[in-house]
Every structure is written in C-alpha cells, then in structure tokens.
C-alpha cells in the first residue's frame, strides 16, 4: 500500500563545462496500486526521474516520498528494471533469479526459492538457459531475464525503464500480458511506473499516461485512460475512443519535436545534397 509523491523535483547535471537541465519542477502523485506510464522524446529526463524515485541519484531540488517515508537511498520496497537491465554478470540466469528471490523473500525455504526460480525461467522460456551467464544470452533474452527477476521480487513498487525495447513483437505481447497478469493477480496494490516509447503499449497498459517534453524535462499533460480492465487488445485497438486517444498523444509528442526534427532533416539534406 505505497503511493509515490513526486514533489517539485528538479535535476540539473553539472559537468565541467556545461549544465543540463534534465528535469524541471516535476510534481506527480502516483496512487498505490496505480499503473502509470511515462512517455516522451529521447533525453526528456525519463530515466533520470526513475533513478531519482529509486533513490539512486539525488535531485537538485525537491523530494520523493514513498508512503510516509522520504526516499534517500535505494531499498527493496522499490524494484527497478534499468534501461540497460543490470543483471549480475557473474551469476548464471538461474542464479540471478535465485539470488534475487532469496534476498527479498526472507521467509521462503530453499526448496520454494528453487521452485520459484525455475518456474520463472519457464515462464519466460529460458529453462534451457538456466546455466548460461548473461554474456551468453541474446539481447532479448537478457531483457526477459531482467524483467523476470523483477517479477520474482515481492516489492510494492515497480519501476520499469523501457523494459521491452529489445523484444520482438510476440515476446513483447507475452511480457506485457505477464506484467499485467502479475500486477492484477497480486493483492492489487503494487504500484507500477512504466517508461516506454510505444504509444499503443502505454495505452494498453496504463491507468494514466504522463507525457513529458524535453529541455528542460517537464510534464506536458497527464492523460487518464478510461478503458476498463481486463482489456482485450483486439477490441481496444479497433475502438474509436482508442484511436482518438492515440492521435492526441501522438500529436502531443509531435508538437515540439517536429520543429527541431524538421530542422535536423533540413540540415541533413543540405549536407548530403
């Protein structure tokens, strides 16, 4: 039962000769049990925001509260799948799962842990690779493993940073189903913050979508998704409401970007012609 209170967060990265205004006055309340997606162009500060919520980087201004507690450091209430899914390279696929389960579910017996780990490998179709080290897995497999590791944990809050980027369409749908299934079949109060580039994905999954714009990273609009759950992919994508929502989000994303991209395109043509 943990909600997330993002309170006036700003983040300025200072490097030797420049400042990057990555986030500017971000305010957002995510309710306990809610599924919120963040969508926004590259570099608008999505990963930065996730890292701040997870307690990995300290914001320049503002604070995060999870439940009643201010977030200062990473802790096991919050599980994260990073954009570059950081598995432990010295553990096999099985060990990565086993280790995570063991350390976050203290009251499981060794046998239960083992079972759980093997089950998870099965669910993501990697049983055959249980003894492989991460370097021996393909890009997509690694990603599936990282997500699966997160699923295996008993956290209250899940933060996912473009978790399905390296997956093909089918695996992607499978993982989406798994994610929703997990979220809904739990006691329904796990909170999920989900970063994606895929507008369809975000509509299908979320209760709310936060649209961000870059330089500095700001919230542009927050959109409620009115569809009842469980949602049916086919039905949904056919509906009028869906299409208009989709177009609205796309146009939001396009608005600021178009100008700069057009300029870049122009540069390109000038350069190569």
């Amino acid at each position: 039962m943990l909600n997330i209170d993002i309170n006036n967060i700003s983040m300025i990265y200072e490097t030797k000769d420049s400042k990057v205004n990555a986030l500017h006055n971000i305010n957002l309340e995510i309710n306990s049990g809610e599924f919120v997606s963040i969508i926004g162009p590259s570099g608008c500060g999505k990963s930065t925001l996730i890292n701040i919520i997870a307690g990995i980087i300290k914001p320049t201004k503002g604070f995060i509260k999870v439940g009643d507690r201010k977030v200062e450091n990473p802790n096991s209430d919050i599980s994260v799948v990073f954009q570059d899914y950081s598995l432990f390279p010295w553990m096999t696929a099985y060990d990565n799962l086993h280790f995570a389960i063991k350390n976050t579910n203290k009251n499981l017996t060794e046998k239960e842990i083992k079972e759980k780990a093997l089950k998870h490998l099965e669910i993501i179709g990697l049983s055959k690779f249980s003894n492989s080290f991460p370097k021996e897995l393909s890009g997509g497999m690694t990603q599936k493993l990282a997500i699966s590791r997160m699923f295996a944990l008993d956290s209250k809050i899940f933060l996912l940073d473009e978790p399905f980027g390296a997956l093909d369409a089918l695996n992607r749908i499978h993982m989406q189903d798994l994610l929703i299934y997990l979220w809904r079949s739990g006691n329904n109060n796990q909170t999920i913050l989900y970063i994606t580039h895929d507008v369809d994905e975000s509509i299908f999954l979320s209760d709310r979508i936060v649209v961000m714009t870059p330089s500095p990273g700001k919230i542009k609009e927050i959109i409620e998704i009115p569809f009842k759950r469980p949602r049916n992919r086919k039905e949904l994508t056919g509906s009028k409401e869906y299409l208009s929502l989709r177009n609205h989000i796309l146009s939001l994303l396009t608005e600021d970007m178009k100008v700069s991209l057009n300029k870049q395109e122009e540069q390109m043509r000038k350069y190569y012609d």
Partner: protein
C-alpha cells in the same frame, strides 16, 4: 608431407631442436673440471628433458605455436648464456657459465629442496594471511565511504614502509622467528592485495551496484555476493603482484633467526658472493613462481569465466 615439413612452424621447431643439440654437443666437447662435470651432466639432462618436453608437448597441446616460441626463446637464452660466458663478455665470476650454475644443484640439492619446503611454508602462511585480512577489509573500506575517506590516506602513508623496517618490531613482539618471518611476508604482500580490492570495488559498474541496492541486500550479502565477485578481476591482479612481492620479501624474511629457506639461501650465498649459487637459487625461485602462478591462473580463469 614435404610441405608440412617446410611450414614456418615446423622449421622453427627444427631449429630449436638443433640449437638444443648444439648445446648438448658443446657440453660434451669442451673440457670441464670435476665439479663442472657434474654441472655439465645436470645441464645435459635438463636440455634432454627440454627436448623431449618440446616434442611431446607439440603433440598434445592445442597451441603448438606458443610452445614452439617459448622453447625457441629458452634455447636462444641458453645460447646467449653460453656465448657470453665462453667469451667472458662479462665477469664470469659474477655471471658464471651454465655448467657452473647447474653444478650447484649437485652440491646443494638438499639445502635447496629443504629451502623450497620452508619457503613455501613461510610464504604460504604470510600470503594467505594477507589475503584473508586484505579482502574483507578492502571490501569494507571500498564500500563504506567514511571508512574509505579515513583509511585511504592512512594506507598511502603506510604502504611505502619497507618490510625491513618492521623486522625489529617483529623480533621483539612476536613469539617466534617463524612468526616474524611470516609477518614480514604478510606486510609485503598485504598492500597490493588491499589496494586491488578497493580499486576493484570502485570499478564495479555503478548500474550493477544500484541494481543490487534495489534488492535491499544485507551488508554481508552485499559484500560477499556483489562486491567480492564484482571486484574479482582487480583482486586477482592485486593478489598476483602481492605474491610476487611476497616472494621477493622472502629474501629478508627468511634471515630472521633462521638458516633454511630459499630466501635465506640466496641471502646467505650473496654474503659469500657465490653468484653461481645465486643464479641457481633464482632459477629455482622462478620455476616455483611459474608453477604457483600457473595454478593461480587456473583458479582465476575458473572464477572469472563469466567475463
């Protein structure tokens, strides 16, 4: 067939064997006095063993080029050694010919064999102690910012203290000379390992550390399951250097109230300017280190197979 015989690798091997044979011949031809006769005998046997090893290795190894290269270089070094000493290009008392050096094994084999055993005991104890203390300490220091801030400058100040300086205190404070020797080895090999562990912890990808942090690990699990394996690549290079320094430190550690050990042997012989014995001892130490570190490499390759 002929083509295979004329491959560069094969030619190289033939040349190596010819060199070894030449060396053998030269031992037989040149007259030696009695003591050198023994040396010549041992030298010849060594050369024969090397030749047989070369031929055998070539049939069982996966990397014949490597073996051929090493043996060729050994052969060339022997030739250089012969030439330099035959023509007395440098003072042959200080740099004696092979027969003289190998003759030492004939006279001193007992001292050397016992010495190896004692040295392995002293080195093993001191080095393992250093590993046992340096690794947990290094993980702790690398992990805890405040501890690091404090102990890094202190380490920088203590690490250049030569092991020699500790000797009087070791003699006075420790209950036996053996422990004094062990202690001196310990301080010699401690710092590279300790610094290796700390650098190792620092070089773990911060994403992995963050990922571990979100698992809410206990400090102990964090140290043993994340920091230790993550720091392993640097720990191994630190431990390797620590071993080398430990071996070098034998030379001063084994002359604390002792008269046995390969370090003592070298030190003792250098008091009497017996450069043949010093070289003979050095060859033994080198072979000892090559064997130890080869085992070491095997462990390392296994532990780091995830890389």
């Amino acid at each position: 067939m002929i083509k295979k015989l004329l491959s560069p690798l094969r030619i190289q091997q033939i040349i190596t064997i010819l060199i070894f044979s030449g060396l053998l011949l030269s031992i037989a031809i040149f007259p030696n006095n009695l003591q050198e006769y023994a040396g010549g005998f041992i030298y010849s046997i060594l050369l024969l063993i090397l030749m047989v090893l070369l031929i055998v290795e070539l049939y069982i190894t996966k990397n014949p080029q490597k073996i051929s290269d090493i043996f060729l270089v050994i052969a060339i070094l022997f030739v250089l050694w012969e030439v330099i000493t035959r023509f007395a290009l440098i003072d042959i008392v200080v740099f004696p010919p092979p027969v003289k050096v190998f003759a030492v094994y004939f006279t001193d084999y007992l001292e050397i064999l016992l010495g190896i055993a004692n040295s392995l005991l002293v080195l093993g104890s001191g080095y393992i102690l250093a590993i046992i203390i340096a690794i947990p300490l290094g993980l702790l220091v690398g992990w805890n910012k405040r501890l690091y801030d404090l102990s890094y400058p202190i380490s920088k100040g203590l690490s250049p203290v030569p092991p020699m300086v500790y000797i009087p205190y070791a003699i006075i404070l420790l209950p036996s000379f053996f422990l004094s020797s062990v202690f001196v080895i310990f301080v010699g090999s401690f710092w590279p390992i300790f610094l290796g562990v700390i650098t190792g912890v620092f070089n773990i990808d911060s994403k992995i550390i963050n990922s571990a942090k979100t698992l809410g690990l206990s400090d102990k699990t964090m140290l043993t399951k994340i920091l230790l394996p993550g720091a392993m690549p640097h720990i191994f290079s630190g431990a390797f250097i620590g071993l080398i320094i430990g071996v070098i430190t034998l030379l001063i550690a084994e002359v604390i109230g002792s008269s046995v050990g390969i370090g003592w042997y070298l030190q003792h012989q250098s008091q009497f300017a017996n450069y043949d014995a010093i070289l003979a001892g050095m060859i033994v130490i080198s072979i000892m280190v090559i064997i130890i570190t080869t085992l070491f490499d095997k462990v390392q390759n296994h532990v780091l197979r995830w890389q």
